[in-house]
Symmetry: C2
Subunit: 254 residues, 2 copies
């Protein structure tokens, strides 16, 4: 072994890293040109100028390559979302949450192909749903993609918790949320899920309900727009803004 935890990158390691990014770049190009199912190992090999078998020195399988691609996409999405949120000062929680929604949407729509791929990973349990799969098992031994999807979701959830914590007693009327009567079982599940989502802190049940409702709406919006089935196409921005306003109303906010 050459450099375990903190050694400087050897020449070989640099080359290897370069090759990996080259492979992923080629795969992404194919994704953009021919869609998720149009990515072919052999075509990538041709593109990179190498034999098909050589790719297996870098990725265990085609699936592993796609997974790596997805991870990169999540990183991109998370970076952009975080940057957009941080454009507002830390105490403007509402604006920061709006930025989260807005950036999630605009990234997804301007990266339809990437979004499509992310939607179908991991196999048989599509991700990007803005909601981590339930129930959450052990904290860390989930596949990397699910972890990143949770990280992405939590950015918004944590902001909500902060919002509640800091604005308590500052004039917001938290009882104003429009929520139907819920069965005790559902209430418990919402609270528990909220606890795994919005770490440590507890927000009122009504907020949890409104938050999850909002997630569902955002997810529906983004998927429909990305797949070209939103009934609004010319004034989408306006429509999104209206939808965000409607969601805020569910929180009893203007």
């Amino acid at each position: 072994m050459s450099s375990d935890t903190a050694g400087k990158p050897s020449r070989r390691e640099r080359m290897r890293a370069e090759t990996i990014t080259e492979i992923k770049a080629s795969a992404r190009r194919q994704l953009l040109d021919h869609g998720p199912s149009g990515i072919s190992l052999r075509a990538v090999a041709r593109d990179v100028g190498v034999s098909p078998a050589a790719l297996y020195r870098y990725f265990d399988s085609l699936d592993a390559l796609l997974t790596a691609l997805c991870c990169d996409f999540y990183d991109e999405l998370i970076d952009e979302t975080r940057a957009a949120m941080d454009a507002s000062p830390p105490e403007r929680h509402l604006e920061r949450m709006k930025s989260w929604v807005w950036t999630f949407r605009s990234w997804s729509v301007s990266h339809k192909r990437e979004f499509e791929l992310m939607l179908s990973f991991p196999e048989d349990q599509g991700s990007l749903s803005a909601c981590p799969p339930n129930p959450i098992e052990s904290p860390d031994d989930l596949d990397p993609i699910t972890q990143k999807s949770i990280e992405h979701s939590r950015m918004c959830g944590l902001e909500l918790a902060e919002f509640y914590r800091q604005s308590d007693g500052e004039g917001f009327d938290f009882g104003q949320v429009d929520m139907p009567e819920l069965s005790p079982g559902l209430e418990r599940e919402l609270v528990e899920q909220c606890a795994t989502l919005i770490i440590g802190d507890t927000v009122p049940l009504t907020w949890t309900y409104a938050f999850i409702s909002g997630w569902v709406r955002v997810f529906g919006l983004v998927v429909m727009e990305a797949f070209g089935n939103l009934p609004v196409t010319e004034n989408v921005d306006e429509f999104y803004k209206a939808q965000i306003m409607s969601m805020l109303k569910e929180f009893g906010l203007d």
Copy 2:
């Protein structure tokens, strides 16, 4: 040609129809066992006990077979939804719309694999979004799947129009809908889209907005649940009912 429009089915035609359903049945079995991408023409041929090339006498391509499958699924879904709606008398529009949502949901969740396939058809313009693609071009030369998806959507849309038409002046306060201010362009687009959706009849703008909002929510719910990412898993039924109540609130109804 033997029987063009109304001739009795010849022996050959009966055999052919039988073979076709046998092929589709085998393909559906593979769909259930191995997912959408696990359907293989050669495997179907093996299963049916025929050479791979023989299948081309019945379907032009694998894609054509999948399309035919999807059509059948839509027919199933539409049949079930219509039956569920017709379990309530024609004048109980609210109940009928609830049945639409409920059946759409339960069919999709209990037919995850089928749902998954439908979601990705037609290529590069996923369907089943409960919203026809926009803008709608010519009325009839759309691909059959899109047509059926529109038919499915319209069942609910027409019911809404009926609801409005028959209950006008019967005590509902149609101005009560919570809707943010919309830009003139968005208003126009909503009204136009509404006209293509809910044929002939016009409902108030607020209802159109609430209706489309509801669609987005239903779609988000169904997709998330079908993909296993709904944060509620134990009390899903209760959660759906609560969400339906919330949507009704958007209409100003209890």
